[in-house]
Assembly symmetry: C2
Homo-oligomer: 643 residues x 2
């Protein structure tokens, strides 16, 4: 009988929490369940035997003919030759047999049909003697009953299934994965596919969590979403520990007014840890209920996944009696500085890219709710609790989320956002599944600077030079003057003000943005679109300070469009494709040139060549881009400038 103490630890060190968890699970024999099960052999492909498998009958199980021919007594054939053929009489001295037929009693050899001459209806002639058991497959010739077929710990292959079934082994004891129940909690949860009202949260975490657990070797079921009511949560947990080897609850792990998980766990079991000094994932709960491990995970998907990797993956490995699964890691160079808080172990999603032989790691989004940042991440960088951060250019050890081979085949694009990048990413992957386009949207200027630092294969930019009215080239000359490169047009595109359908506030242009009523949403500094905004305001002699919302920044055209569509801003400057995508009205402001900068050292890279081939020769490219709206491909693929 276990005590039900509630050790509430606010901020335990990661290593301390992991050790406490591991030791307690062992001390309480939480991992000692019977991880075997019987399966029918016909469904056993790929399973691992949990005991040696022995033949339960012999194969063949009877003396049978190995040929189509006649069964004879070998004694009757002695002396037969071409000169002295021997004649045999049907039934008395021979019986016709097909392959697989049982040898009739009294007979002890078979002669192939090809070596037999019929002599009338009831006699045959043979011209050679045969030995005893000639062409007979004797009992156990292949396998004798009780013989070992496969050893314990063997991965069952099709031929092993054959050997088992042939010897009357129809079911086999195999290892079974530890079972887990994933319990999603939250009164605001709705099922995927249901219409989302404000405040509703789509319950997809349980699919993600169960999926990872299955990939790590467990077999996870999902419980229906549970309301934030202690009684309901308690019932779900008790169901879980009764029927599964482990339980994962998501979420209710925090200290909010509706977070009952820790309280309920302390009532029905023992909470070992609540709160670990990690980011994201701090409010994790580690508990034992009725001898079963129960983990309370934070609610944000990224926090939940990263916490799972720290506490659930090793748990599954312990159940399976494996050494903790070796994680694949690689060494990379950090491309920009990373700040971290002392006393907290940070887990940072990074994108990886090998550019000119050097593997660069770039931190991507850190928001705990950002599912897409984890979709796009190539690795996880752990920043130790004692560190305040890591400088740009430092070597870091990254845990891989993708095969390094795939990372090596990633085309690194940095620069301005455009919807065509999605089209290219898809075309590249479609044509060569191993080849990926990884794009970071840091604005046109950011792209040029990334090329300068050698961090990208290609940059995208649309920078209009105020003085010359020329696109991109003046900036390249100024910032990349020494770098041999080509400037290749991707597309010309329309920029304009996005407004809700029907333009309810009757916005006609930038001049309308300073009346104090209209809220604007801006792009970040360094974005070509930001520069266009500033130029237009300057042309009109308008002070940015008077534009309401000028200080609110988004990083992509689509996020600007989303803010307008969602009503948090009245208008923003973006490309027409974003207006088309979100069904907004569009007030044209400018037509501009969006070019790709490709340094000469990457010009022959197969990934770059694949990218250019997609732009220049793929019909699907042109069709798809034209459907996005607002693009002119007349110069697409042409070299605009070279140095």
């Amino acid at each position: 009988i276990m005590g039900k103490r509630n050790i509430f630890v606010n901020n335990m060190e990661l290593s301390e929490a992991q050790e406490l968890w591991r030791n307690k699970l062992k001390a309480e024999n939480c991992l000692e369940c019977d991880l075997t099960e019987m399966v029918e052999v016909q469904y056993g492909l790929g399973r691992i035997t949990a005991e040696p498998v022995f033949a339960r009958c012999s194969s063949p199980a009877y003396n049978g003919s190995a040929m189509d021919g006649i069964a004879v007594r070998f004694e009757d054939t002695l002396g037969a030759s071409e000169v002295n053929p021997v004649t045999l009489k049907l039934h008395d001295e021979y019986v016709p047999v097909n392959t697989g037929n049982a040898i009739p009693p009294g007979f002890n050899a078979v002669i192939m049909i090809e070596e037999v001459q019929p002599r009338g209806d009831s006699h045959v002639e043979i011209i050679a003697a045969v030995g005893p058991y000639n062409h007979i497959r004797t009992i156990g010739e292949d396998i004798v009953v009780t013989e070992l077929l496969v050893a314990e710990g063997h991965v069952i292959r099709p031929i092993d299934q054959g050997a088992m079934l042939a010897t009357n082994v129809t079911s086999v004891k195999v290892r079974r994965p530890p079972t887990a129940l994933v319990i999603p909690t939250g009164s605001d949860l709705i099922m995927p596919g249901e219409p989302v009202k404000p405040g509703d949260i789509v319950e997809f975490n349980s699919v993600v969590l169960a999926g990872y657990m299955n990939e790590w070797g467990a077999q996870a079921d999902r419980y229906p979403a549970v309301n934030d009511e202690p009684d309901d949560i308690r019932a779900a947990i008790l169901h879980g520990v009764k029927n599964y080897d482990m339980v994962v609850i998501n979420a209710g792990a925090s200290a909010g007014s509706r977070d009952y998980t820790a309280q309920v766990l302390a009532e029905v079991g023992e909470v070992l840890v609540h709160g670990v000094a990690i980011k994201p994932g701090k409010p994790v709960i580690l508990a034992i209920v009725e001898g079963k491990p129960v983990i309370g995970l934070p609610g944000y998907p990224v926090s939940a996944v990263l916490t799972m990797r720290l506490f659930v993956r090793p748990l599954i490995s312990m159940f399976l009696g494996r050494e903790v699964e070796e994680v694949q890691t690689t060494t990379a160079t950090l491309s920009r500085p990373l700040v971290s808080r002392m006393g907290v172990t940070d887990f940072v999603r990074v994108k990886l890219g090998r550019v000119a032989g050097k593997l660069m790691a770039t931190p991507s989004g850190r928001g705990a709710g950002a599912v897409m940042s984890l979709v796009q991440a190539d690795g996880i960088l752990k920043v130790a609790s004692g560190s305040q951060g890591i400088g740009a250019g430092e070597k870091v050890e990254v845990e891989l989320l993708r095969d390094l081979h795939e990372v090596d085949n990633t085309l690194v694009f940095i620069g301005s956002h455009d919807n065509i990048l999605d089209v290219l990413a898809n075309l590249l992957h479609q044509r060569q599944p191993i080849c990926r386009l990884s794009s970071a949207h840091v604005g046109s200027m950011g792209g040029i600077l990334a090329l300068k630092r050698g961090e990208a294969h290609v940059a995208g930019c649309h920078l209009l030079d105020d003085e010359t009215g020329e696109y991109n080239v003046p900036f390249i000359k100024r910032l990349l003057g020494d770098t041999p490169l080509q400037l290749i047009n991707l597309a010309q595109r329309e920029q304009g003000l996005l407004v809700p359908k029907g333009n309810p506030k009757n916005i006609q242009g930038f001049k309308d943005l300073t009346d104090g009523e209209i809220s604007f949403i801006n792009r970040q500094r360094g974005a070509g679109t930001r520069l266009l905004t500033d130029m237009k305001l300057k042309e009109l002699g308008l002070d940015p300070e008077t534009v309401r919302g000028y200080e609110r920044e988004e990083y992509t055209h689509m996020n600007v469009a989303s803010a307008v569509a969602g009503g948090s801003a009245d208008t923003g400057l973006a490309i027409r494709a974003a207006a088309v995508a979100l069904d907004l009205d569009f007030i044209p402001v400018a037509k501009e040139r969006y070019d790709l900068i490709i340094p000469a050292i990457h010009a022959d890279d197969p990934k770059v060549l694949a990218l250019l081939a997609a732009i220049r020769t793929n019909k699907q490219f042109a069709t798809t881009v034209e459907n996005l709206g607002g693009y002119d491909l007349c110069d697409s693929g042409l070299v605009m400038y070279e140095q």
Copy 2:
């Protein structure tokens, strides 16, 4: 409309058949089926997308609080500081919100609960201003509707499922495997587990064939066994081509009196090839019926599997649009000569073993019915049609059936058969799953010669020297005089005459074997047990010629026991364990010493150490061996002799 010619080719060259098949399938557009299907995202883990997947709604879908706290208007907070705190009024100026709650209309920022001081029931005080949309997760912050989530050709991971479900993508078009129907035919087929009467054939081939097809990327269903009736076979084939992408029929491919497959295929479609110059597998049929590929496989399991590898595996790869699956091969040295017939491409099962750094390939059983030989095979050696054979010591290219790493971790045992070898094979694998014991039973003398040629790590022998009465040592001195080695006892064991339960013919000893009534089954030349037989006959002054069945040889104790149990022999000499296993009576003849010979160069090999550890220190070993019957382990593990 296709012609229904029946091109009966008796013995087509393999490469010609493969090319004809490939070209015809392309010409007839047999591979042009739609290999996509919709799956629910929640069941899509590990599937490959067949089209790019775009967000169907934004995530978040509404502006929501990122924190537990209060929703405010940022304008109301301007100027707040520790010196000049700002007081806000419930409902009018603030509303409490939990993480995930929708921001009420009119509010545009969130302040964390930790930074709010309650002032009575309806007011709070704040000491810092906040910016617009502070701590608000805005619509599309993570993903904007229409954005690309994953490209075509992407293997779906749990986090991808999350991104899809979060953006209202609940089903996804994925690639589907080509489907196949496996049709077993034969009026003599019974289901696994049913009692086997003489002439019955257990239907396990369809499980094996479907299993391999699934491993190669198809999805194979099994049809119930079909009688050898043309109408039934025709109906099954027509069902198959109507509902599946390809059909495999097993068997009826030969030219026997019940082999209707080719005839039926020629009626309903076109037979391209019937008969290929390969061994095993010659009677294979390649046909096209209603635009679908149909393959008729030979009936013997080994023939069927090897034929599948030649014609079905490439077919699946063609369906999947892959280059033909690259097979893993390795170069090895052939340990004994291999004879092959000119004009036939031979596929020979081989065992592989790395001994003292050299990878040796040893041909194993060649019988088409020998399932166990395929279970135990490590590779397949192709002997070209133009070759008459390969000499011992020649380098050969072997297609691997096991990972080379596993082969490298195989302990190669050659020598006399003993039932304890099964026990050791299991213990070794159980303790270290990568470690395997591969044993070839070629008799005691064969084991010594294999050590002499450097083809084994360990040999097992029980050779009694006629003159000295000493076991093994005189033979070692004579044949392995120069080799430093240890002789370690495995067990002492009882040899005796095996007779059916109750000893119906009242056999008392070797003296009874010459009465002409009693049939004997012998062991092969070079076996220690054969020597013991000869010695006993000599002691009694009996002429082997007078022993009926003296010339009939088996290779293991178990096969001798099986012949006695099955009634094809009245008695044979074997160890007591074989009598116990098959429930036979046992007439003791001798107690003998079975030893392991371990050359000094292998003494420190981890596999050898693991073997000795199992013998010397594993309690399970002693218990299991004692249960086999007839063993004395008093000297087990002791060094009997060293040189």
